[in-house]
């Protein structure tokens, strides 16, 4: 449905800039006004407005019946979202930190993700599961993961990862209207929360009108001719920072923001690599069996893909849980310098 709607990316002139959280909330509020079947469930989403500002201000407009604080019972309320979705409603359930997925994982991957398939298409599950992801603020192993690859690996869920306010709003409209379960992973560092300062970049102009960004449409955030950098979430901004620095040395990096992992816009990635011949994949998730390996494989599988591929580099969290102390967290989470080095290596001037 929403996939056919056009992306007004070029037509969305506005002077109004929003944080990523405001943009997300604006889309949710719009959908809630349009459709009484949309409601939001989560921990601390009512009076608090979401620990990461994901529901700020919604309680005042919609009340407790539709902005629901729920017991700390992820299995029950995520599963209840599945059931309500199957009954024809359009629930949004929030997992406060994606790391808590384990508490309710059966409802996520054995119910939400599989019921459509197991019913032979007789049942649909039009819900959104939102979750905060990411590290960079020393919250250690149980509160810092992204788990992008985990959700994208298991079939049956669409997986959305916005990197800017503009994308966050359009992707949220699409997520709520989509007839399938959508996992919407927002990076804490990008939300524009007072106590967790965002980098420059995620706060962008955002049209006041509704618009959808189709799933499976990667966005070239920076055009370049020498090396393709494919990434998502926070690392879009780190890659752009690296690209600026590399430009000073005459290396022209193209930065591709995947925006959704499921569906994956393989074509945009392949086109870019066909142009540059060099691929660097950057991910804040674990290195093995994840996004970086998948992107490399998709490129290699293309007709003449391997022949066109002069160099490949992966930049990701090594296969260790996220450590607490600053020197160790900085070591494992890729920064702009790691990306710069990888691009240089791919470019052949190590």
């Amino acid at each position: 449905m929403a996939q056919q709607e056009k992306d007004p990316a070029e037509g969305g002139q506005t002077d109004r800039s929003l944080t990523m959280s405001r943009a997300m909330v604006e889309a949710i509020a719009h959908e809630m006004r349009e459709d009484d079947d949309v409601f939001y469930m989560g921990e601390d989403v009512a009076d608090y407005g979401g620990i990461f500002d994901s529901t700020e201000g919604l309680l005042e407009e919609f009340g407790r019946d539709r902005i629901m604080d729920v017991p700390i019972s992820e299995t029950a309320y995520i599963g209840a979202a599945v059931g309500a979705a199957q009954a024809g409603m359009r629930p949004i359930a929030e997992l406060m930190f994606v790391d808590f997925f384990g508490v309710g994982m059966d409802q996520i991957y054995n119910q939400m993700a599989k019921n459509t398939y197991m019913s032979g298409g007789a049942v649909s599950v039009p819900m959104v599961l939102t979750a905060a992801v990411g590290g960079t603020y020393n919250d250690a192993a149980q509160h810092s993961q992204t788990l992008y690859g985990t959700f994208a690996h298991l079939p049956g869920m669409k997986v959305v990862v916005p990197s800017t306010a503009y994308d966050a709003k359009g992707l949220m409209h699409n997520a709520i209207r989509d007839d399938d379960p959508v996992v919407y992973l927002f990076h804490k560092r990008l939300m524009g929360i007072g106590w967790l300062p965002a980098p420059d970049g995620p706060k962008t102009p955002v049209p006041e009108d509704e618009y959808t960004i189709p799933f499976g449409s990667a966005d070239v955030k920076r055009e370049g001719s020498d090396v393709t950098v494919v990434t998502l979430g926070l690392h879009v901004h780190r890659a752009l920072e690296a690209a600026d620095e590399l430009a000073d040395d005459g290396i022209d990096a193209e930065v591709v923001d995947l925006r959704t992992l499921v569906p994956l816009d393989t074509e945009t990635v392949r086109d870019s690599v066909a142009k540059t011949g060099r691929l660097v994949v950057v991910d804040e998730d674990y290195r093995s069996f994840g996004v970086t390996g998948e992107i490399v494989a998709r490129v290699a599988e293309a007709e003449d893909g391997l022949a066109a591929l002069e160099a490949v580099e992966r930049v990701a969290v090594p296969d260790v849980p996220l450590p607490y102390a600053r020197p160790m967290e900085n070591e494992v989470i890729p920064d702009a310098e790691d990306i710069t080095d990888a691009v240089r290596a791919a470019h052949g001037d190590e």
């Binding site: 601390d44 090594p318 160790m328």
Partner: protein, 348 residues
């Protein structure tokens, strides 16, 4: 009846915990002024302080030995202090130092001190199953040690807790579940998330004893815990205690607590269990001088731990790649450093 020695030891543990939290708060806020940035300063990341919870940790742990197991949640410091966790190494861990309990890998929500069988976890109620496991090990090995799982009242709606109650009950395991009711699950008051005001009634469904201590009172906790722990030691199965405490410092440092009324905060502060225990001490004939000594020795211990921790070295970046496994596999890329950092990493 509780002895004067017990009272003094509990008081010392509670005062130590309170002073520790106050000092941690000061250290934590350093570098976070005027603009609060959670990742700045000598203690980065989330910090969940337990000021107001002291009666629970002290009243329960007063009955425990080093070989008894305790699991704690994300708000662990008062329990750790009462259980006898190494205060210096715990502090070094909170400061992210190499000589911390977990070499800087865990931080304040993930403290492990095997010497006194203490562990905590940042996912609520998830310490309950491991406590059941410790009880299971004690039963299988026929020792008289027990296990205590601490959790907050917000956690009593979790499957991990309810399943643990059932498993411990059906296996007659020496486990005590201690629910610390501080009235708030971050911003959610108890009556919004459960219809059962007395959390100890969760025990009824599993045919185990459930007791609620309705005031912030270390002596009442001590008495209730004596019965529950004694029952576990006598191999008569698990028990559930719910203990009224209060939250003085927000859910985490930086929590604006806009959802909480000033009256609620003020009312909570008036219930200080440390003041109450001090009155109990006096009623038992303990003089001001002794009380002052207990307080000043607690302060010295806290200062010593914090000063020591701050002098400790930070871990090396490459240390991040160690400790994934006890027996690291060879020949696989289980801990390769970032591509860009091959000079510093990859030492295994």
């Amino acid at each position: 009846m509780v002895s004067v020695t017990d009272l003094q030891e509990m008081y010392e543990a509670m005062v130590t915990a309170r002073q520790y939290e106050e000092r941690l708060q000061e250290e934590y806020l350093e570098g976070k002024q005027p603009a609060f940035d959670i990742s700045a300063g000598p203690i980065p990341g989330e910090l969940h302080l337990a000021a107001g919870h002291e009666a629970s940790g002290a009243g329960v742990c007063q009955h425990l030995r080093d070989d008894d197991t305790v699991t704690a949640p994300h708000r662990p410091h008062h329990i750790a202090v009462a259980k006898g966790v190494d205060l210096k190494r715990m502090t070094a861990e909170i400061f992210g130092r190499e000589t911390g309990l977990s070499k800087g890998k865990g931080g304040h929500m993930h403290l492990f001190d095997p010497d006194v069988n203490f562990a905590c976890s940042g996912i609520i109620a998830e310490g309950c199953p491991p406590a059941v496991g410790a009880g299971l090990a004690a039963k299988k090995r026929n020792t008289d040690s027990v296990a205590v799982a601490f959790l907050g009242e917000g956690a009593i709606d979790q499957g991990a807790f309810l399943e643990s109650l059932n498993l411990a009950a059906v296996q007659d395991l020496p486990v005590v579940f201690v629910v610390e009711d501080n009235d708030w699950a971050i911003s959610m008051p108890k009556d919004r998330v459960t219809d059962v005001e007395n959390g100890a009634r969760r025990a009824d469904g599993f045919d185990m004893p459930g007791t609620r201590v309705d005031a912030d009172d270390a002596v009442a906790v001590y008495e209730a815990a004596r019965e529950a722990i004694g029952r576990a030691q006598d191999r008569n199965g698990p028990s559930l205690l719910e203990v009224q405490v209060h939250r003085r410092m927000g859910h985490f440092m930086g929590d604006p607590e806009a959802y909480r009324s000033d009256e609620d905060k003020a009312a909570a502060e008036r219930r200080d269990s440390i003041d109450r225990l001090e009155a109990d001490l006096r009623a038992h004939g303990v003089d001001d001088e002794t009380i002052d000594e207990l307080r000043s020795s607690a302060r010295e211990r806290v200062e010593e731990a914090i000063e020591w921790a701050k002098e400790q070295p930070e871990p090396e970046p490459a240390d991040a790649h160690e400790d994934v496994f006890t027996n690291p596999p060879s020949g696989v890329t289980d801990s390769e450093p970032n591509v860009a950092k091959t000079e510093t990493g990859g030492d295994d």
